[in-house]
């Protein structure tokens, strides 16, 4: 059984002059432990898709299932990482990481060790008592990633999580996210508008069209893990990026 099964998913928004289609008949499956990158131009409904998967927004038609049960509201077995770190400045790093534990009414004591382990995993050992405003943007996003993992969710949804970081920090975060994924084997849906980022991280890349968002292509990236940053300079990598970019050119919009 697929971890995520999306069938004929559509979403229309009501606006002042009629309704606008954001997503149109989207279907795909994600296997347990897979890393799927979703790439598309701005305004193609990527974020809408993620909000539906996170249970923050109901679809207009079709359905999305997580491990066989329909997603019809926020669920506690999903971790979400947004584009901004969205940390609470009045909480320490550790307390921010433990937010899902507090919300779910679980024992802080029991999850403290796991939280500290995760912080070490993302390279923030010893920062647990600091406050978010004492950290750099990249470090804050690591805290957000740790927070998404702390309650051991089945699935991780990431909405352009490194989009606001500088290029070098972003590459480094990509390498680390891959390492964490290989270590923890979560099912990840990773939304981005960077084609190289999608190819570098994903087992599969779902290529989306401009609005209304449809899936143009489901590309399998045949590059062995772990992928070092050097992989970006190989012909195979370049070929994937070129193929996806060409797909966009055909669809009438070039981006990233």
């Amino acid at each position: 059984m697929d971890a995520i099964a999306v069938r004929e998913l559509s979403k229309r928004y009501a606006t002042r002059d009629g309704s606008v289609a954001a997503l149109e008949g989207i279907s795909f499956g994600v296997g347990e432990g897979d890393f799927v990158a979703v790439v598309g131009p701005s305004g193609c409904g990527k974020t809408t898709l993620l909000k539906i998967l996170a249970g923050l927004m109901p679809p207009s038609r079709g359905d999305a299932r997580l491990r066989g049960t329909p997603i019809n509201g926020p669920r506690r077995d999903i971790g979400v990482v947004f584009q901004a770190p969205v940390l609470f400045p009045w909480r320490t790093v550790l307390d921010n990481v433990l937010l899902p534990i507090d919300v779910q009414g679980l024992s802080r004591e029991r999850h403290r060790a796991a939280a500290l382990d995760l912080l070490a995993l993302v390279g923030l050992e010893g920062f647990d008592r600091r406050y978010p405003w004492e950290l750099s943007g990249g470090m804050q996003q690591r805290v957000a990633l740790t927070r998404a993992l702390v309650h051991d969710p089945a699935m991780l949804l990431m909405d352009e999580p490194f989009g606001a970081l500088d290029a070098m920090t972003r590459e480094q975060m990509n390498v680390e996210l891959q390492r964490i994924w290989l270590e923890r084997r979560k099912t990840i849906v990773f939304i981005t508008h960077s084609i190289p980022e999608a190819v570098f991280l994903g087992d599969r890349v779902l290529v989306m069209s401009p609005r209304p968002g449809r899936i143009l292509e489901d590309v399998r990236v045949e590059l062995p893990h772990p992928r070092p940053l050097d992989v970006m300079n190989t012909p195979a990598f370049g070929e994937h990026v070129r193929a996806i970019r060409r797909r966009f050119a055909v669809a009438g919009r070039v981006d990233g």
Binding site: A54, G55, L56, G73, P74, R75, R76, I78, V80, F82, A84, V86, F88, P89, W90, L99, P100, D102, V103, Q104, Y131, W133
Partner: protein, 283 residues
């Protein structure tokens, strides 16, 4: 060295202006019931303080102010929360709130003295009434200003509305609430003094008024001096709490990071622009 020199300049300026004032009053023979010389004010201050007269009245005014502050802030915070959290409450109460807000609350003082008498109660209620609004408005604005992304995050964790309130909206509103408390404290003092003007048996406001009847202008100046120190002290007390509670707020961090604890008065009066935006003045 630089700091020492600016401090010396400050002292020199103060002494110079006092000397000028003293000289002008003596030179032009200004009658003491128009403008007393600083020396006369100092004598009146010493007399009032050493006889225990000022302290007795000060205690009374302070009690009125603090009780009024507690009453007004508690009500303002409670009602502000209700309005911010419930569409229903907002729908029915908001028109009255707007109407009441445009009314100068001070104008109610004579009525309140008629209803609640010359004692402590009327002053506490008057102070509370004036202190109520800054807190009501700031609480409302603060609770509603929670960042959309943070609300989304809480929702994605399947948080209940109650949890979102406790873990996000309430701490998020604290900078606004603390700014409201700062204003409410000074407003409560104003409310108490005005209440005493209208009718009271004790308090610094009553003292000022009785001195006015006997043309004791130097006495009035000395009480005004005491009052300004009371106001400064109360405001400082709130700010001290605010700094403790809001260590994470950017505007507070800026204050903390100032190397010189001895902030000039003008700076502490002006506050910083970010905090200023949170203050909604209404009285």
């Amino acid at each position: 060295m630089h700091r020492g020199r600016s401090r010396a300049l400050t002292v020199a300026f103060f002494l110079g202006s006092m000397a000028l004032w003293e000289g002008a009053v003596r030179g032009f023979e200004v009658p003491p019931f128009i403008l007393p010389a600083p020396s006369a004010v100092a004598v009146a201050l010493w007399r009032g303080l050493s006889s225990g007269l000022y302290l007795r009245h000060l205690w009374y005014t302070l009690l009125e102010t603090l009780l009024g502050f507690l009453l007004g802030s508690a009500l303002g915070f409670g009602l502000g929360t209700a309005v911010a959290m419930s569409r229903w409450v907002e729908y029915f109460l908001y028109p009255y709130i707007v109407m009441f807000q445009s009314l100068p609350k001070i104008a109610l003082a004579p009525l309140i003295v008629i209803w609640f008498g010359l004692g402590l109660a009327s002053k506490v209620i008057n102070a509370g009434l004036v202190a109520f609004f800054p807190l009501l408005v700031n609480t409302m604005v603060g609770l509603r200003s929670a960042d959309e992304d943070r609300v989304s995050l809480m929702r994605s964790l399947a948080a209940t509305d109650r949890q979102i309130f406790r873990m996000l909206r309430l701490p998020n509103a604290l900078p606004f609430v603390m700014a409201g408390l700062d204003i409410a404290m000074i407003f409560a003092l104003i409310g108490a003094i005005v209440g005493e003007f209208v009718g009271a048996t004790a308090g610094l406001g009553m003292l000022i008024q009785s001195m006015n009847f006997t043309m004791d202008v130097s006495g009035q100046f000395s009480v005004l001096l005491v009052l300004s120190f009371v106001g400064l002290g109360l405001s400082r007390a709130v700010q001290l709490v605010r700094r403790r509670v809001l260590f994470w707020d950017p505007s507070e961090k800026a204050a903390l990071e100032r190397p010189d604890e001895d902030v000039p008065l003008s700076a502490s009066l002006a506050r910083d622009p970010r905090a200023g935006k949170k203050e909604v003045t209404a009285w």
